[in-house]
Symmetry: C2
Subunit: 767 residues, 2 copies
């Protein structure tokens, strides 16, 4: 096999062949390393000058071996390579190769030369170890062998996820898997929007749209099912979901919750059948987050018993209004109510926009928002009014009305409080959106994880290529997101249940919960789909694989129903009210109490044994995980309160004080919501009976908890709540959990049970 | 003004009006707080029972004041409110209000009641302070007053950014601002692609495409200008940039760098004029990152002196190939070279795809990749070959050839090394892409920052609304990204200069630099444009404001020219080679040396004074910043090397060992590249003469350095390199720098000097 006759005959040269091969086959050996090798060869006393010269010529970049020579070396070495030999070295390979020339025994010269040869080999460092594998065939490794296992029942897991709504979920899934619901390209806006309207009509025919409305108006009074429908529809086209949500949620629910019986009787039935398409016209060009500042006016004229709706300037136009550009016939319009020349703050009125034939009514101007990043099947538009007159009864008068004497009336005196009470009734949107977003995350994860399980790239030398999901970085990218999607699923169910069973006293808490979960979940959707896109490489960039549309459609979820950053500040302010009294009353006595409370924390949680405890048992203990989350939540909240108090006490304007602490306040909101999510996940596991599902969910929950702690480790270390040894142990455990969950990953996304017709991505289905 | 006669007449009731107003105007006062207030009112001995009953009725949620009553209270309070009074309280306001009823003096009763009144007020906590501002008009705060300043010369800054290439940059900017280059919608793929080709032809006519080619083939031999052109074009449509890059970079440069004179003579001129559109066909369906594993074959037939190009299976099809679906007439096809039945690894050949009329040639099949997340103006396609025969001279034979005897020849024996040498010649792509990505970041930042400077939302009670860029969270989202875009600008210039002045020995380092900067910069682009989208709210979602297209077009930058995660592992491996010898030779002596080195670090960097030093002077000292980056770089690298060595020494397969450490290795790459970026930024500041620019750049550099350290604070704390007090001080300084740089932010994006015609976003131009 060795083509060069000079080498073939001489065991002193043959012994070098594995080293020479390695030198030349390695792409990263540097010139300086070659010069070290030269020195080492020259120092081998047992070689003749001719032999040295030959060897030196073979490592001289000016006179390299030919490609054929290299091939022949390799095939010679392969003859003596044996994967069963542990701690194999290039020198041993060389000696065995040399011994083939004679009687099979090893010459005395080589026995004596072995230490110097080994010295040469060690110069090659890590490469030497790797090089050995080059010569084996069918090279197997732990990494190559990892694969999908079936450790739990997928259908049991689906049951757990679907909970009480499995029937309606199944019905919706079957319905949207129909060929009528085949996806279409967003290239032609008009065609796409028309199709989306058509889909919504199909859904309305099934009673899905009216689900939450009272029975007397064609519904089933079942808000829980309505949310389940929104969530399930979100496995399909999200323009359809948003159009659906605008019509039956925003438009319908505003009539339902802000109006009174006369409005319900007149409109709800037609809204539920989509006979009467409508809009929710709140946002204005200049007032998005600060809706209280909108400038559209509704001026009451007692003589004619009418309201005059007017847009005072171009920045007061209603903007981004869904269903406006093409289909909306009416709108719930938010405007400042002017009665008797006095401004009574924001109210809502029903204002007709188009006649039944779709012709825009006099005084109303509508412009198309045009192409958007996503949701192009929704016809968003700009609406403005030039003294449009509507009858008095069009005022949605649950919270604001004008009495028979033409005087303003309201059960809530304060404009501010009234406004937030009105918004509070619409909190359902902040439940529907994160649930829709989490469905999109699940679709993305199903596509990326199934692809990662099949797609192979690179592998050990001489072995087959490895599924990319076996790579640790790939696991670190996707497994924590998979865990988070499960975690969010359960906490969004919890939020929904709290909302369905709400009392007046609960409302502030539910609003904070909804605002916080909406923010956390929608940012998580954006992050998840971004990772999924990158994890699918070029395939993830092709529209046919649907990650694009999922990503772009949901990108606005972090903005609408309230900008996340603004919402988290509301959450923080709501949390601060709990501490308000404690701090404002803070005299010597209460400060002492407070410090004592803090000290108690130190004793129970911050003792030196706990902050250094790196045992797996401790780290996987839900009690440890939850107390770490709670400690963070409480500490960030109290420190924010203290900071605010300090600034305000020192004479800083409270507006400035809140701005200085704004970043801190966002953390207050996040820490609160993260604790809720973990708490609900732990409760879910406690009530899970199926052993396989319970074990798998526990692993996911551990990964969620520990990767959150890992993300926040800077904070924990800063506080002295953990030592470096502990955060390092947590990181190791996160890696290990990612590795373990990888084998459950495909069954875990299969348990989402997303119809193939909805997933549609060729890289995830039809295999 | 006070409508209720009972209140109007009675100073004992009037004194309560500011408190009552506050209770009712506040939207977040809880029922439990109201009950505490009730108790306090009942305990006021100086009030009559009638007065108490009246007051209690006024805080009873069942008998609230009317909206009109509330308005009248407010306007009464406003009469006595005075913004000049410091430490104003609701009680003082009430006392002044009460004194208006009599002779203007304060009654003895109220003087004595003041402490109990103050006790009631303090129960209201933080709200009390805020409430005072309610009554002022024209309420100004530090937050409201912050605004754009002009602290440096924008044109000087532009000069610094443009460096030696200002002339060509200006020329390109003028050219692409022409109405011929007006943007078009991606709705109709065919129209869009045709327009993009047309634009590229215009650019070719200007000599922009051939810029880097030798003069004898129509170029100017000016690679530096070529990169400047790519970067500047990237302020415009990115499909155009990628189409331009595919034609003149990938297709042209592969002919130039992998071919020899005969190919240059035959093709380069027509490539540079776009007379000969072509493709770069490397990636296959099953081999993207692991290109060495491609399966397309080029089998040599010595009899006919031809190569037979063949796609052996559907997974070996060339995929995502730019210019393929419509326009490419030829392609550089990468294939395994088979000579004499032996496989000599990957080579490249020129293969004709279409005739001059655009008809696909026999044996070639081309499919359209269809709609993508972005870059829809580029006609990506799938290409496959059914025994297509090309003449021998079509082999690009700089590195591989077949001699007159029909034998394979190469100056590089090892397939592996030859392959990486070939790829190394194409490293220019990994320079062009991050520079293009950074231009997209600059466009996004210009749009978001100009918008944030104008867009107002919320504000102090009674004051005007505040530009959203004055909010701390908004600053924290955008300012570090602005600093990073400047930082990357200079390090990408450095990379370009290293490449332009490269020697053979530099290549490994330059390749690592390019791979690392490409990864860091393109991820930064994705993150930047995501923040810009969210920071522009609904406006950011409208296509007209262009963040969408910037984001979606560049999303693939993290994947093409090498997946970032894979590239960073290559960087890490390259860095490890530096440590290879040290570790493989590690005997007692070298270990001692090594430990001594580590100890030296502890002495100089880890002394207790330094790890606790929180002085601003220290934190803003470039020496501290750079040594923190270097410490991280070195420590992560050595710990990765030790981990790998430990695993491999313990008998773990090196493939598994690298997988176990994969996440760690990505950090090795990032830490290295972050140090380079900071180092280059500091050097740039040193050589900046203009005082205004120097000061501003120093602030940006500080923000870049400290926000990176803040991001990595978990690591620094884990290592004991900093204490919590120091990381907290760094966070405060990051916030402060964001606040300071906000006033320079608009001039800083103006210095990018992006033509309005290119920005195009209505929210950023035409104002």
């Amino acid at each position: 096999m060795i083509e060069s006759a000079q080498v073939k005959a001489n065991p002193n040269l043959l012994v070098f062949v594995p080293i020479l091969y390695t030198v030349w086959s390695d792409a990263i050996l540097t010139p300086s390393e070659i010069s070290v090798l030269e020195g080492l060869i020259n120092s081998q006393g047992w070689l003749t000058d001719t032999e040295k010269a030959f060897l030196l010529s073979k490592i001289n970049p000016a006179t390299p071996p030919t490609a054929d020579e290299l091939m022949s070396w390799r095939s010679a070495i392969s003859q003596v390579a044996d994967p069963k030999i542990a701690n194999e070295t290039l020198v041993n390979l060389g000696i065995r190769l040399a011994s083939l020339t004679g009687d099979g025994t090893i010459s005395e010269t080589l026995v004596q030369a072995k230490p110097s040869l080994s010295n040469i080999e060690s110069t090659l460092g890590l490469i030497s170890h790797e090089a050995i594998f080059n010569f084996h065939t069918g090279h197997k490794t732990i990494t190559s062998e990892q694969s999908t296992q079936q450790n739990f029942s997928v259908s049991e897991m689906t049951k757990i996820l679907d909970g009480d709504y499995s029937e309606i979920i199944k019905k919706v899934k079957t319905f949207i898997s129909d060929p009528e619901f085949q996806y279409m390209s967003p290239g032609d806006l008009m065609l796409y929007r028309t199709r989306v309207l058509q889909w919504c009509k199909f859904l309305a025919e099934q009673g899905f749209g009216a689900m939450a409305y009272p029975k007397e108006y064609g519904g089933k009074g079942d808000m829980g099912s309505y949310f389940a429908i929104m969530e399930t529809l979100s496995y399909h086209d999200l323009s359809m979901v948003i159009k659906f949500g605008v019509q039956f949620g925003l438009w319908g629910m505003s009539v339902y919750f802000l109006g009174t019986e006369k409005h319900h009787k007149k409109y709800l039935k037609d809204i539920g059948t989509l006979e009467l398409p409508g809009c929710f016209a709140m946002t204005e060009t200049n007032h998005g987050s600060n809706v209280k500042g909108i400038e559209t006016t509704a001026t009451y004229d007692h003589l004619t018993q009418t309201f005059n709706i007017h847009t005072p300037n171009e920045f007061a136009r209603k903007e981004y209004i869904g269903n406006a550009a093409l289909h909306g016939q009416m709108a719930t319009v938010f405007a400042k109510l002017i009665v008797d020349g006095k401004d009574y703050g924001v109210s809502a009125l029903i204002v007709p926009l188009r006649d039944k034939k779709g012709k825009v009514l006099p005084g109303v101007t509508i412009k198309d928002c045009g192409r958007k990043m996503g949701l192009n099947g929704v016809d968003n538009g700009v609406i403005y009014f030039n003294h449009v007159v509507v009858p008095k009864e069009n005022l949605l008068d649950r919270f604001t009305s004008v009495n028979a004497e033409g005087k303003f009336e309201s059960p809530i005196a304060s404009d501010n409080r009234r406004f937030f009470t009105m918004l509070g009734t619409l909190v359902g949107g902040r439940i529907g959106i994160p649930r829709s977003g989490n469905s999109a995350s699940k679709s993305g994860l199903t596509i990326a994880i199934r692809y990662g399980d099949q797609r192979r790239q690179f592998g050990p030398e001489g072995g087959t290529e490895v599924p990319i999901l076996n790579y640790r970085t790939h696991q670190r990218r996707l497994m924590p997101l998979l865990a988070t999607s499960y975690a969010l699923h359960f906490s969004l169910q919890y939020l929904t249940n709290r909302f369905l069973n709400r009392t007046e006293e609960d409302m502030q808490e539910i609003e904070a919960l909804a605002a916080g979960l909406k923010s956390f979940a929608t940012w998580n959707t954006t992050a998840t789909l971004q990772e999924c896109r990158e994890c699918c490489g070029g395939k993830g960039y092709l529209s046919e694989n649907r990650i694009e549309v999922l990503k772009n459609d949901t990108d606005i979820y972090t903005t609408f129903e309230g900008d996340n950053t603004v919402l988290l500040q509301l959450v923080a302010k709501s949390r601060l009210t709990e501490f308000k009294q404690e701090f404002s009353n803070m005299n010597v006595f209460t400060i002492l109490n407070y410090v004592a409370d803090q000290a108690k924390t130190s004793i129970t949680e911050m003792n030196p044994i706990t902050i250094r405890n790196t045992s797996e048992e401790h780290l996987l203990d839900p009690e440890f995980q939850l107390s770490a989350f709670k400690y963070r939540e409480r500490d960030i909240l109290t420190s924010a309160a203290k900071r605010l108090k300090k600034h305000i006490d020192s004479g800083m304007d409270s507006f400035d004080a809140f701005n200085v602490c704004q970043h801190h306040l966002v953390q207050v909101g996040l820490a609160y919501i993260e604790r809720i999510i973990l708490e609900q996940f732990i409760l879910q596991i406690e009530k899970t009976n199926d052993a396989g599902c319970k074990t798998t969910l526990k692993k996911l929950c551990d990964l969620f908890a520990l990767s959150q702690i890992d993300k926040n480790k800077g904070w924990y270390l800063e506080q002295g709540y953990m030592e470096g040894s502990k955060t390092k142990a947590i990181r190791r455990l996160v890696n290990q959990l990612c590795w373990d969950i990888r084998q459950d990953a495909v069954p875990l996304v299969n348990a989402f049970n997303i119809p193939d017709a909805c997933l549609a991505a060729p890289i995830a289905v039809n295999r």
